[in-house]
Every structure is written in C-alpha cells, then in structure tokens.
Amino acid sequence: MKGNEAIAHAAIRCGCDGYFGYPITPQSEILETLAAEKPWETTGMVVLQAESEVASINMLYGGGGAGKRVMTSSSSPGVALMQEGFAYMAGAEIPGLIVNVQRGGPGLGTIQPSQGDYFQATRGGGNGDYNVIVLAPASVQEMADFVDLAFELSFKWRTPAMILSDGVIGQMMEKVVLPPFKPRRTDEEVIRQCPWASTGKTADRKRNIITSLELDPRVMEKHNLHLQEKYAQIRETEVRYEEKLTEDAEYLIVAFGSAARIAQKTISELRAQGIRVGLLRPITLWPFPYKRITELAAQVKGILSFEINAGQMVQDIRIAVEGRTPVAHYGKMGGIVPTPEEVATALTEKLLK
C-alpha cells in the first residue's frame, strides 16, 4: 500500500477520534482512504473535509483541547497556512497530530517531493518560543507505525507532534504490517487521562481554561519557563535515531526520511569501492540527535548532510560537530530527487579530495 494510505489505516486502528483536512497533492490519498473506509460507521472516528487548512488546524485546537486524539494532514503550502495554529496549540499545551507530506517550495512550488520544510518543522513557523515533536518516517511501515507513536508522545508531553514525510514516502508502495486495533478512548478515560481538558466542568473541580493568552508578564514568564523546562525534558528523553555501518565508518552521511533510503544504497555502493561510509538517520528531527553526532564527529574524517533541499539540517549537524570535522551538504530542489549514485559522487567530491 502507499505511504499515504498507511497513515489513514493506522489512524483508524490507533483510536483516532477525528481527522480534519483539506486535499492537496501529494497527500490527498489520506483523506480519500479515510472517506472510502468510512470509520465513522465502525470506530466512530469523525472524518471531515474542512473548508481550509486554517480551519483544519483550529478544529485540532478544539478537538485536542477536549482531550481527543485528533489529526490533520497536508503538504507544504497547506502546512505553512497552519503555523499560527501550531503556536497556539504549543502555547495552550494542546496535543494533536499534523502530517506533512512535503512538496517543493517556496510558495505553491511544485507537487514533486522535497524536504524543504525542515526549518518550518523544527524551528517553527509560528510565533514565540516553542517546539513541536517531529518524526521523520523513511518507509511505508514507519508511516503506519508513527501515527500511534506521535499521538502517544503528543499526549505524554501535551504538545503538538508532526510526522514530516514527503512525496516519495507518501506515494510509494511497499509491504506494510498494520498496527493492531486499539479502541477509541471512552469519555471516562479521556476525563481520567486528560484532567486538564475541557470535558465539561463538574462540581468537584475548578474550571479548565484552554488559552495561550496571558497579559500579566510575570505569569506569562512562568508559563514560558514551564514550557522550556518541558522542552528540555523532551530533548533529554525522546531523541530517536538509527545507524547503519557506523562502527568502522571513516565518513558519515546524515539523512532523514526518503533521503535516508537513497543514502542506504549510496553507502553500500561506496563500501563496494572500499570507502568506509556509515549512515545516521535522525528519526526525531526535533529533538535532534546532537549528542550522537558529536560523538561520531570525533571518529570520522567528514560528514555529508544529504537532504532534498538547499541545506537546512546541515545547520543542526554543524551545531553538533562544532568544527571537529568537515561538514558538507548535498541536495537538490525543485522536486528533483537525487539518485544514490549522485549522492556517492557528491560525497567523494566534497569530502575525499
């Protein structure tokens, strides 16, 4: 099945309460699959085509604020429209899942694959000091697996989570084992698990107020410090990454999502030529695996950041490396996806000279 279809099936299976979205290539199969599966008849999950991306993200604010597992999906320009909602959700500490199946930009750009939204996802396009948890799937299997994981993390930390995919992983078909069925939480379970949510005030508790607004600077500073403390804990505990052939590596490629799949073939091609290359694939882009890259920087003679963009993640790699070893970037834009061979050539030209 396609990556996009896997997202839809996984959503139904992981007890998602609602999906709100507006169609855009290359992710429209998510909404199409949900519409075809009619989960409102089986699990009771709501599927709604919203009037716009701005409406979708604000429906997430409302649904998440009520403690529901709600999600939306879009592609780059649509996700750009949602950024205000991200900041509001982060500020009001509302969980929710946003899937971005990236296409080329800026602006309407192209419908072909890209990883040009790394900055948007990890730096935040909304205002203020906030972060969202960002997971980058590299296979159709991970598209399915990360839906539940993203919800779990999002509720654990009361902050929005994003699956940052792209047109390659969204459109390709692969073998996938769908996660087991997990029922939607009952209203009682939501009240128990989300005591902060607006589930209807009872006599025995105070009002739950969901807002990102606070006009008293002293109170607002306290709230900011609380958020920063939470982000520090996430950085400490939720970093995820995968390594391939790094033990004896003299050179390292860092790549995420579809680029990591391409790079996997690159490393086997280069190893066949006797060049010892390894791959580090960040699975969480925020929090980023700085620590592990710092360690590997002491071991290797150079690092290539391979991204399907003009060079965005390379900045995080440089932060981790702190000049210990040369760092280069290779990537393409405009919807062009580099081949494994082109990545191999880039590595030899940029690092082996």
């Binding site: 072909q112 390709m172 799949r261 391409i262 081949t339 494994p340």
Partner: protein, 179 residues
C-alpha cells in the same frame, strides 16, 4: 536476487497498474517490493513511469540511477531510459509507434507486438498484461498463477469478470515476445 525495473510509456496504457500487479504478485511470493511512480499532473497521452524493485533482501532506495530491466512503451521513454540500463541488462519494447529503434549492443533487447496482439484479441485494455506476460517470459520474477491471484486481490468487484481475459493476455505475451 534483486530486479530493478522501470516501466515507462504513455499515460492510459496501464503502465502504473502493470507495475502494481507485478509488485503485488511478488509480495504474494514473500518477496520485498517497492513501487515508486513518477507522479504528477499525469494524464492520458502524457508520459508515465514507475520503478518496481523486487528483491529477496530489504530494499534501500526506491529511486534508482540505473536499471536491470526497462519495459518501454513509447519513443520518448525509449530515448530517456535506454541509456540507463545496466550493461548486460534487458530492454523490452513494443515496436508500435517506435520510429527510432534501440541501438545498444551491450544489453539484451526483446520486442513484443502487444498493441497489435491486443487489437487482434479484441481486448485493447489487455495490452499491459500482454507486456507483463512478455516480461515474465524473459525474467520469471513471479509465477503467472500468482499474477492471477494478485489480480483477484486488487481488481474491484465490478472488474473481477475480466480476470480470464487478463490471464489469456498474460499467456499471449509469453508466447509472442521475441529477441
């Protein structure tokens, strides 16, 4: 074993569905598969292509620079993909509408008159299954029985009655392909 295949032609010829059936059949044989379409504002008459990888090992890149086998169904695709076939690889093409035939001498070239055969059989939509039959005659990547099973699994209810015609088309393709 790994087979890296590109299938390319005009939109509407069944290029993507041919790749899909091949991938499903391989999946049913327990193989690892990937199916990566060149998606876009594709339309009937435009070009369409899909990369299908079938392997005993987990598949790394779904995007390739070179291919073991190219199945080519129009002139623009022949010009684009003939140079990308690995030396010793395979090119299968339908001569219909091809004015400049392939010229490489370091690959194995097969020709299949699937367009004509489909017209003769009165089954123009069976064209892609004839081509798939031809491919399977050259490279028995999957058993034809599993292709039929894959069709049963993937075709919507209203098209299930077309399966015998598709099977006939597959067998026709196996017969008529020539080097």
């Amino acid at each position: 074993m790994t087979q890296e295949i590109i299938i390319a032609g005009f939109g509407g010829q069944g290029v993507l569905s041919m790749g899909k059936i091949l991938a499903y059949s391989a999946l049913m044989e327990g193989k690892e598969v990937s199916w990566m379409p060149a998606y876009g504002p594709e339309q009937r008459g435009g070009t369409a292509n899909v990369t299908v990888i079938v392997s005993d090992e987990p598949i790394s890149s779904p995007i390739l620079s070179t291919y073991d086998t190219a199945v080519i169904l129009n002139q623009p695709s022949l010009e684009r993909f003939e140079p990308l076939i690995k030396p010793g690889g395979t090119l299968i093409y339908d001569g219909y509408g091809i004015s400049i035939p392939p010229h490489r001498t370091d690959i194995n070239i097969y020709q299949i008159s699937a367009m004509d055969a489909a017209a003769e059989m009165g089954n123009p939509k069976g064209f892609n299954m004839i081509v798939l039959g031809g491919l399977l005659a050259v490279h028995p990547i999957v058993q034809i029985e599993n292709v039929v099973k894959a069709l049963r699994k993937t075709l919507p209810e209203r098209h299930q009655h077309l399966i015998p015609a598709n099977e006939e088309a597959l067998r026709k393709g196996m017969e008529i392909i020539k080097s």
